[in-house]
Structures are given as structure tokens and as C-alpha cells.
Amino acid sequence: MSNIGNNDGGCDQHRNVDILPLALWTLGWLASTVLLRYGTEYIWDYLPIYSIIALILHLLFGAAMIVVNIKYLSQLDELQRKITMDAMGITLGVGLIAGIAYEQLEDIKLIAFEPSISHLIMIMAITYVVSILIGNRKYK
């Protein structure tokens, strides 16, 4: 078959979703997080001006990552978007429920240490990846 789809404006290109910009901006955001956290302690010794610059940089990278993520979602076809949005919804729910429960653990003396946000982020990341895998398997 050579030329199907001509009656619809010649749309015979395969869908091409470019994930590289999202990956790069996410890496950039992670790097800015590391800089903010450890640069303060090991590079500029808590000098406020550098900390403020690092914080602004971190927020700018975060904002750019959100914009690139929205653009990435718009490139997906409707099934891919459904799988991604479902995974995001589940991740948000798990994050909220697990986050609040986890935060209570110290208050009700079930754990002796202070709950860390990094644990919640790990749970959310795992939930997202598993949800994406299940979604893809469901519509395989």
C-alpha cells in the first residue's frame, strides 16, 4: 500500500513523538535540585545571594519542565494520552493518600524518624511507572 489517507489531507506520516526535550528538561530540573541542595552546603557556604539564584534557577527549570510536559502530552495520540493521564491521576491519588498517611505516622508514634518528601517522590515515581506499564499492557 502506498498512498492511503489522501482523502484526509495526505496524513500518511507515522506519529512521531519526541520525548527527548522532556527527558533533557527533566534532567536539567534534577541537576538544579542537586545544585540547590548541595551547592548551598558545599560550594557557596549558605551565601544568600547564590542560594536565591539557585532557587530561581530551580523554579525556572521546573516551570520549563511543566511546559515541555504539556507539549509532550499534546503530541500523543488519544490512546497514549489516555494511558498517560490515567497514570498521572493514579499517581496523584496515591501521592495524596500515601503522603497524608505517611505524614501521620510520626505524629501517631508508629515511626521514630521524621517522614521525608523523597520517600513520597519515590512512591509516586514507582506508581507512575507501574501505571504506565499496566495501561500499555491493557491496550496491547
Binding site: 492511503i4 489517507g5 482523502n7 484526509d8 496524513c11 507515522h14 490512546l79 491496550y139 496491547k140
Partner: protein
């Protein structure tokens, strides 16, 4: 929702990749629609109908009417 996509595609000797290309969707999406695992949006259903020069009702079967 059941549909006649597999038959229509076979009549034209198109692969799923050909269909996906023509609809500008991923092969996963073309496959899921064909198998009835995923119902396309109205715009995509009309696009499919235009591709085969048929109506939406000729391709997709309203199971509640059966």
C-alpha cells in the same frame, strides 16, 4: 465497541502500520481500536470513516442496538 476495521483493512491489503500511518496514530492505538479495546473519539471515528469512504455506522457497531 465492535467494528469492521480488520475486514476493511484486509480488503485493501493494508497492514496495521499502514492504517496507523494514515490515521496519524500509533500502531498500538490502531490495534486497540481494531480489537475493540479502545473506542476512538468522534473526530478519529470520522477520520476512519473518511479513510474508507464509509459512514461511521458502517464501520462501528452499536452493540446496544443489537
Amino acid at each position: 465497541m465492535k467494528n469492521r476495521l480488520k475486514v476493511l483493512r484486509a480488503e485493501r491489503d493494508w497492514t496495521q502500520a499502514d492504517l496507523a500511518n494514515a490515521l496519524t496514530v500509533s500502531r498500538q492505538t490502531a490495534n486497540a481500536i481494531e480489537k475493540g479495546k479502545f473506542d476512538p473519539s468522534l473526530p478519529l471515528a470520522f477520520k476512519i470513516a473518511r479513510l474508507f469512504n464509509l459512514t461511521v455506522e458502517d464501520i462501528f457497531i452499536d452493540e446496544e442496538k443489537i
